[in-house]
């Protein structure tokens, strides 16, 4: 604890002279990213906003439409702002931004169960054995460090508790998980019952009462507690803390993104990216439409469409879409065959992802399927999608990092980036 830095009470220095506290400068919280300087390829994107559709989003009823095919069921298609690019009628607002987007129509995966598919999509590795693999946000921080030292390197906004996070990487590069976007960063404001002076007094006092213990034990773990309190105070006083506070956004903005948790999460994502958080994931659940697909998908799409269109428009207006890549992904698609309950079941064989901005040439469709059943052109796997994101961020795709069990891993596990869409 280093009270001098935070003390505001004029009377405290007298105490300090009686009980000298170990003078400790606040150490860097995170370890330096990597010792070896890397030569990354030229990046096209600085930030990524990764929208994860949890449960398996039906490709045919969203972005992987096949106009006129019997597999479409009752879903109709719409023309979009890009010539020759059509998407589902469930996404009328997003249709206006397809000139910025590339539909990746030929995704295919080997993982047909939720947990496995989700893990594969997030890490490029299959869920097996005793290794937990890092996700893109953690790779980014590991390779390139934080862009804003007072904010986390990456953030995940989700109600789900199974995000693989930093995998085997150290905790310092782990994405910060925010469960409720409206609540912002947990515990970052002082208790209402305390005045600023009260809190400062207590922090300073805490340092003094801790001195004996701090100096008695020479342990890294002991010292780091005095460091994290200094860091915590910095965070509290940081101007960037407002990045987490979406109440600072005008009502109009809230209305634009939508009042549901996903819309608010997208709004928070934009604020975080503005303040230097470079990878933000927002998840939207409920896509597991085994029954009543044609009722439930339009409901989900309404939420997605409003938030996504708001996000794309907002980024575009702020001039941020060029270097911010917005990615839409899901663990798998859904069966082209409609089941007896008007539902669609899990279908990893062919599905769709979309990328907007971040340096891609918009208005394209990449890859083809036969009525959403089989990929017939330009097959893409989840590692390929992740390699494309990593490529855009300028991450070295072939740089090997060893887990603590000394096994070698790379970002995107040898997936091939689709360089032709940039």
């Amino acid at each position: 604890m280093t009270p001098p830095a935070v003390s505001s009470s004029p009377r405290l220095p007298r105490l300090a002279s009686v009980f000298p506290c170990s003078a400790g400068s606040a150490r860097e919280l995170s370890e330096p990213p990597l010792k070896v300087p890397l030569k990354p390829n030229k990046s096209t994107a600085r930030n990524v906003i990764y929208l994860y559709m949890s449960g398996g989003m039906s490709h045919l009823d969203t972005f992987g439409v096949v106009p006129g095919a019997d597999t479409m069921g009752p879903t109709q298609v719409l023309k979009t702002s890009a010539d020759g690019v059509q998407i589902s009628e469930n996404l009328p607002l997003t249709a206006k931004y397809m000139h910025h987007g590339v539909i990746l129509n030929s995704m295919t995966s080997t993982q047909g169960a939720h947990a496995q598919g989700n893990y594969f999509q997030h890490t490029s590795y299959t869920l097996r054995g005793a290794t937990k693999h890092p996700t893109m946000g953690a790779w980014l921080t590991k390779f390139q460090g934080k862009s804003n030292p007072s904010l986390p390197g990456s953030v995940v906004i989700t109600g789900d508790s199974k995000h693989p996070g930093a995998g085997f990487f150290e905790a310092a590069v782990a994405p910060l998980v925010v469960n409720n976007p409206a609540a912002g960063l947990q515990n970052s404001h002082k208790l209402a019952a305390l005045t600023e002076d009260d809190l400062n007094y207590r922090i300073s006092l805490s340092g003094k009462l801790d001195t004996a213990f701090q100096s008695a034990y020479e342990y890294k773990g002991v010292k780091s507690y005095s460091d994290v309190y200094s860091e915590a105070v910095k965070v509290m006083k940081s101007d960037d803390l407002v990045a987490f506070d979406i109440t600072k956004e005008p009502d109009l903005m809230h209305d634009l993104y939508g009042g549901d948790s996903f819309g608010q999460g997208c709004l928070l994502a934009r604020r975080l990216v503005e303040h230097g958080v470079r990878h933000v994931e927002v998840s939207l659940g409920g896509w597991d439409t085994h029954q009543d697909n044609f009722v439930r998908v339009p409901e989900k799409c309404a939420i997605l469409d409003q938030a996504l269109a708001a996000l794309l428009g907002d980024l575009d207006r702020r001039g941020m879409l060029n270097d911010t890549m917005v990615v839409l992904a899901s663990e798998f698609g859904r069966t082209p065959k409609i089941n007896e309950r008007n539902g669609r079941d899990h279908y990893p064989k062919a599905f769709t992802s979309v990328i907007w901005g971040g340096g891609v040439k918009g208005g394209q469709v990449y890859g083809k399927t036969d009525k959403g059943i089989e990929v017939t052109e330009n097959k893409l796997t989840p590692p390929d999608l992740n390699a494309t994101i990593a490529y855009a961020l300028g991450l070295p795709l072939d740089q090997v990092i060893y887990s603590s069990s000394k096994r070698p891993f790379t970002v995107a596990d040898k997936g091939q980036p689709i360089t032709s869409i940039f």
Binding site: L199, R202, A212, A216, Y225, D227
Partner: protein, 718 residues
């Protein structure tokens, strides 16, 4: 510098060693003494009673002692009071709770999984084994040989934990044999001697355990169509032909039975439909063993010692072969081979784990990556601990009792960290940060006192639910699908079920048509109507099978356990009545912010991300021993700005009441130090505090409380 010396002297004021003279403890001490002499190490000074009482409570019961508890010990004149306290704590419910957290991290217990019922039954099972002090070797054998329904034993949770049985085997070998073979799942191990074929040989022992089935598949007469898919997979052509032929005969018989009972195919469709609806709670509830199922090498197998696709016979990694005796499955043989004194690693792993748990560092590090070249930091001691574990018949309680009664454990914690890779000669235990659960449980102790008694290895709600489930499954097995159709007919309250079924189909078709025509709203309404009819049909059947009350419970599905689970803050009504109106208002307001009412082992486990426990490093239970004790900014923020300090200052908290009862400020502050650190403040601390009192007056007590909570000292086990 001088101040530091004074402080050190205050912290480590003279104490003498008076460990009980258990002969085994003395033997350990003498082995360590040889080591010290050989390496010219001076052992640490004996720890004082105040240091020791806090350490023993944290290490054994998983929490700090209350003021009453620590004072009772410190003031006791009994010469064997340390041995007495160790015994008392080992027999407390706090021990069960603490050990549960320890094993939950190693075994990756989680209720954040597909089979929630199985997960909770497993957690309860582990707690019960710890409370009973089931010998560790028996515990491991019971886990490995567990099978049946979740209503039979919670131990099947061991297998239910992992879908992939190849992965599960790697975890099993790592946890119980301290050997990492996971690399060899896909290729020969690059740093150890294990080949991919070795891996499959080991996996062959447990490969026959199927956890993907559902109790529904057990329904008689469900026919080949029902379970054929899974069953046929992995069969040879010949077996498949036989299987299908047998089922054809079954099907013919079924048709005859159906005719004779006047059951129409619509009746059967209705029953099947209904069963689908209750299938969800019945999924992931059965582990089924088949002795003839063996793994085959993957299609990309690339070594000359075997061929891709080849079936692999069980073969042990080390030690003798595991041969099944007459009437035993190979699973029994595997369990007996593993959990035996003559297994080269089984005993060492658990003895070393317990040593590390007690002293903070293993004689072998890491504890679960042993290879042939692994040498313990003190070979003679390791050998003795192995012998001791066998002598104590794998009683972890007895084993720990011996360790806690050593003079070495009762010395002060090492003031210096042991650098990575350096040999430590155990001059005393290592200073450790509390585990997340210990931090939480200590805060609960400050707020509520001793709540160990609520540690429950009996989950009544779960048992009621499992009972209902068993009745349902038994009824299904007993009656078969024809019988169920009869029940369904009998339960018919006059409505024509066939007509209902037809109506449901019709509604679905209309819904699709409406959507095709572009009328979304109408489509949605019709779909909802169809769904309602379907649910109703399922409900009627379940009610007819197991009665109204039980059916209602089943329909609601299993909601989760007892106690603090998912409960908001609870307010003690009696305590509330004793307060003034103002205090009551404050208490209610504050009591709703952070629920420091139940021990970590009694609430959702693992807690959700963002929860206090996770912030302090509770494992997500995705990997073996995935908890961590690193400091982080969110931890600092949680203690600075989170509700913890307010909860402790809440009029209902035990700490607040104790402070209130102390008449003078000095006594209040002394009470505070006793509560946090089981000791009185030192002279230096008193001087600081005196100044705080002078400066802050009424605010002083709350200031000091919050300051102690946010200091590092509270979080460490000295």
């Amino acid at each position: 510098m001088k101040t530091t010396q004074i402080i050190l002297a205050a912290l480590f004021s003279a104490a003498s060693l008076h460990a009980a003279s258990l002969p085994e403890s003395t033997k350990i001490d003498s082995l360590l003494k040889q080591e010290w002499e050989k390496n010219k190490v001076t052992p640490n000074a004996p720890a004082t009673d105040t240091v020791l009482v806090r350490r023993l409570y944290l290490d054994i019961a998983g929490r700090i002692p209350t003021v009453e508890e620590s004072q009772e010990f410190v003031n006791s004149k009994a010469t064997d009071k340390r041995a007495q306290l160790i015994d008392k704590l080992l027999n407390s419910d706090g021990y069960t709770s603490n050990m549960f957290n320890y094993w939950a991290d190693i075994l990756r217990l989680t209720d954040n999984t597909k089979g929630r019922t199985a997960a909770e039954a497993y957690a309860e099972y582990v707690k019960r084994c710890l409370k009973e002090n089931k010998p560790y070797d028996q515990f491991v054998r019971d886990l490995i040989t567990s099978e049946g329904g979740v209503w039979d034993t919670g131990a099947i949770g061991f297998y239910m934990r992992d879908d992939n049985k190849l992965d599960h085997l790697a975890y099993t070998v790592q946890v119980f044999l301290g050997t990492s073979i996971v690399c060899a799942q896909c290729h020969n191990h690059p740093f150890d001697k294990w080949s991919q074929k070795d891996y499959y040989g080991m996996a062959a022992y447990t490969y026959g355990m199927d956890t993907k089935g559902t109790a529904l598949a057990e329904t008689k007469g469900k026919g080949a169509a029902g379970k054929g898919g899974a069953a046929v997979k992995g069969m040879t052509k010949e077996e498949r032909r036989k299987f299908i032929a047998a089922h054809q005969a079954e099907r013919d018989k079924a048709e005859e039975e159906q005719k004779s009972k006047g059951i129409t195919s619509e009746d059967l469709a209705m029953v099947k439909n209904s069963l689908k609806d209750i299938a969800k709670p019945l999924r992931y509830t059965i582990a089924k063993w088949s002795d003839n199922k063996l793994p085959t090498l993957p299609s990309d197998y690339k070594y000359p010692d075997a061929k891709a696709g080849q079936t692999i016979q069980p073969k042990t990694l080390f030690g003798h072969e595991a041969v099944a005796a007459e009437g035993q499955t190979r699973l029994n043989a595997f369990a007996n081979w593993m959990a035996a004194p003559d297994n080269p690693r089984f005993t060492t792993v658990i003895a070393n784990r317990m040593w590390k748990k007690t002293f903070g560092l293993g004689l072998i590090e890491p504890v679960d990556e042993m290879t042939d070249s692994t040498t313990p930091s003190n070979g003679e001691l390791m050998e003795y601990l192995n012998q001791l574990m066998v002598e104590q018949k794998y009683s972890l309680k007895n084993f720990q009792r011996i360790l806690y009664n050593t003079e070495t454990y009762q010395r002060t914690a090492n003031v210096k960290e042991v650098p990575l890779g350096e040999t430590y000669h155990f001059a005393g235990p290592i200073l450790r940060r509390m585990s997340a659960e210990q931090v939480w449980d200590s805060m609960v102790t400050l707020a509520k006192g001793n709540v160990d008694g609520e540690t429950s290895e009996e989950n009544e709600q779960l048992h009621t639910y499992l009972g209902d489930m068993k009745l349902l499954v038994d009824t299904m097995q007993d009656k078969g699908i024809m019988g169920l159709a009869e029940i369904a007919k009998r339960s018919n309250d006059g409505t024509d079920k066939t007509a209902v079924l037809a109506k449901m189909d019709d509604l679905r078709k209309q819904s699709l048509a409406a959507q095709n025509a572009g009328d979304k709203e109408k489509g949605k309404q019709l779909a909802a109507q169809a769904e309602k009819l379907r649910r109703q049909g399922a409900n009627d059947l379940v009610t007819a099978m197991i009665g109204d009350d039980r059916a209602r419970e089943m329909r609601q599905n299993y909601g989760g356990k007892k106690g603090g689970k998912n409960k908001g803050a609870e307010v003690d009504k009696e305590a509330l009545m004793a307060l003034s109106k103002e205090e009551r208002k404050l208490a209610i307001k504050m009591g709703t912010t952070l629920s420091l009412n139940h021990r970590a082992s009694e609430i959702s486990s693992p807690a959700k991300p963002g929860h206090f426990l996770r912030t302090f490093g509770q494992s997500d239970r995705e990997l073996i021993s995935n908890s961590n004790d690193e400091a982080s900014v969110p931890q600092a923020l949680a203690l600075l700005n989170g509700p913890a300090s307010e909860v402790l200052n809440n009029p209902l908290s035990k700490l607040h009441q104790a402070l209130n009862a102390a008449p003078t400020t000095d006594e209040k502050l002394e009470a505070l130090y006793l509560a946090f650190f089981s000791r009185k403040p030192t002279e230096c601390e008193k001087a600081v505090i005196a100044q705080v009192v002078a400066e802050r007056g009424d605010k002083a007590v709350a200031d000091v409380t919050h300051a102690l909570l946010t200091g590092s000292q509270f979080l460490f086990i000295q």
